[in-house]
Symmetry: C2
């Protein structure tokens, strides 16, 4: 995927609540230095804690891309957003969006962009043809987050690991496989939008051979146990050829996300199956930790929960947003004799 | 997918050898009554054992569709095929193709078809938007062929089971998931061409709830252990919600198809993993047999091989083209108390 130019002006439109601006929040949280400010419309009920700017102000301060950081009902682009988007193009910015309605399908935007030589990035669409995966062994380290379920914190876990690695001077790159991740990184593979024959191949392209000291920290998707998305998860697991896996988990969930009748897998079952399937392409693949989203646990239960888990599975167990991920780096150093 | 109208005239063009006409051969073998005859060009080096007809003759005898039963290098449609295809449209036939080059991308064909109200079927393209899979329990029986590898006989196995079931008066439908299967059945889902988020959903649509005595006999694809295609295989396995699985195997293979460095999985490993993954959506899913493509075994080794396998795994072990599949039906009857 062509790199989306940074820094961004984050468009949050007339967002009614923070949930609608999830994408903008992800970018603000993980790449604050890439965010020039927020662009609102009248009626916007939220604030990202960034300076509110007009398009003209954002352009003058060097914003390269207007990032559509808000989801609208049904993923459409409402009419009252259009003028702001045209202003952005006319001010010299590109536009990037992950909405279902493609920027390029809106004639006024695509013709204006073409006339001005600006880019419209629809990050839901793969922008190239990927090959069939070949499973050839690649150099460099690759770490992949896998999950007991969807939306359990795989992106936050991998971003936290990349950030900590960089703080400690490791050579690491976050590899995005979903829309918010792609905005954060500026590039990636929207793997759930790839033609099914090319899932693993697209991830091989995303995470190529690299220097021996380099770490690709790969955002996972879904779960091998989620009946809606497991095919994507397995293709991603095979394409990643990861030497290390992190299991992500949300301990208060009662059933698989979106499927009230679908029971959750056990943690041991997830560890075993993901390791077995990873070893099909990467013979020594092993788990290096469990990352738990503990936000819905009571404060006094959190430490006990993590300690119990650690004892039971013999792996560092952390919450990336609360305890941090340092124990995972210690584990990786130990396993790699770094 | 809209149903492709039968009977077919099988176009084998200027095929240099039988391998190039694999698709036509599949249709001839499994749906001889749907084949009016073969249409050749000068230079054709093969014969399907069907009457050779001109387009006019085929149309006069009632052919509804010219089926492109031959693959050309790179999947293109060469210029010297074009006149025959236009003749077919002008004679009142539709055209169906599984080539990489889409019929609809050739202006002369698409404009002629539009003018005459004829259909061009590109069976490599899903012809509708599929939903995300919901994993809801469905009525009726579903049997799926899975494999130790790609191209080990999953289509032939399921077609043989459907045929035997029909001979014995069972209520059975072959469900096609690949191009040749789609030609044979006249409809299906080209699952490796579906957007990855919808793999399982497309198979749920293909194999809906049915009467309690009905059997969907579902063509499998790839293998959970093939690093290029396993995502498709797992999505298909989850979407199929199969109560019975048949493992397909080719015993003389030395490595995974197309990947010289990729070792083959063991049969027990395949049985265990497929059953475990099938049970994520279908709690009682179980294997009802092993189908072996023994064509490369010596005649005197075949029976011993199948008997040994049968003893080792406690399942009926057959070659669908040599021993037939009756033992599998006996096993299904026993398991279902039919």
């Amino acid at each position: 995927m062509k790199k989306i130019q940074k820094p961004y002006a984050l468009f949050i439109g007339d967002a009614p609540d923070m949930l609608a601006a999830k994408t903008a929040i992800g970018v603000r949280d993980w790449r604050p230095d890439d965010c020039i400010g927020q662009v609102k419309l009248s009626g916007c009920a939220i604030d990202l804690g960034l300076e509110s700017l007009t398009i003209e102000e954002a352009a003058n301060r060097g914003a390269q891309t207007l990032m559509i950081g808000v989801a609208n009902r049904g993923g459409v682009i409402p009419n009252n957003w259009l003028q702001t988007m045209l202003d952005a193009l006319n001010s010299g910015m590109d536009i990037a969006s992950g909405l279902h309605t493609h920027l390029n399908s809106i004639n006024e935007l695509s013709s204006t962009a073409a006339k001005l030589g600006r880019q419209l990035f629809d990050v839901r669409i793969p922008d190239k043809d990927y090959p069939i995966a070949n499973g050839k062994q690649r150099s460099g380290h690759r770490l992949l987050a896998v999950g007991t379920d969807c939306s359990v914190g795989k992106m936050y876990t991998t971003l936290a690991i990349e950030a900590e690695m960089k703080r400690q001077g490791w050579n690491a790159t976050f590899r995005a496989t979903g829309q918010t991740g792609i905005f954060i990184q500026g590039s990636g593979v929207p793997v759930d939008a790839v033609i099914s024959d090319f899932i693993a191949g697209s991830i091989e392209v995303l995470t190529p051979s690299n220097s021996d000291d380099h770490w690709d920290i790969i955002e996972g998707q879904g779960s091998l146990f989620h009946p809606s998305y497991a095919g994507v998860s397995l293709g991603l697991l095979h394409g990643a050829q990861a030497d290390f896996l992190i299991l992500c988990h949300e301990p208060t969930r009662l059933h698989m996300r979106g499927l009230p009748e679908q029971k959750l897998p056990g943690i041991q079952e997830c560890l075993d199956l993901n390791r077995q399937m990873a070893q099909v392409v990467s013979g020594n693949s092993q788990f290096a930790g469990i990352s738990v989203n503990t936000q819905h646990l009571d404060d006094d239960k959190r430490s006990d929960y993590l300690l119990d888990l650690q004892e039971q599975y013999g792996l560092p167990c952390i919450d990336p947003m609360i305890t941090g991920v340092k124990p995972i780096l210690v584990e990786l150093e130990k396993r790699c004799n770094l």
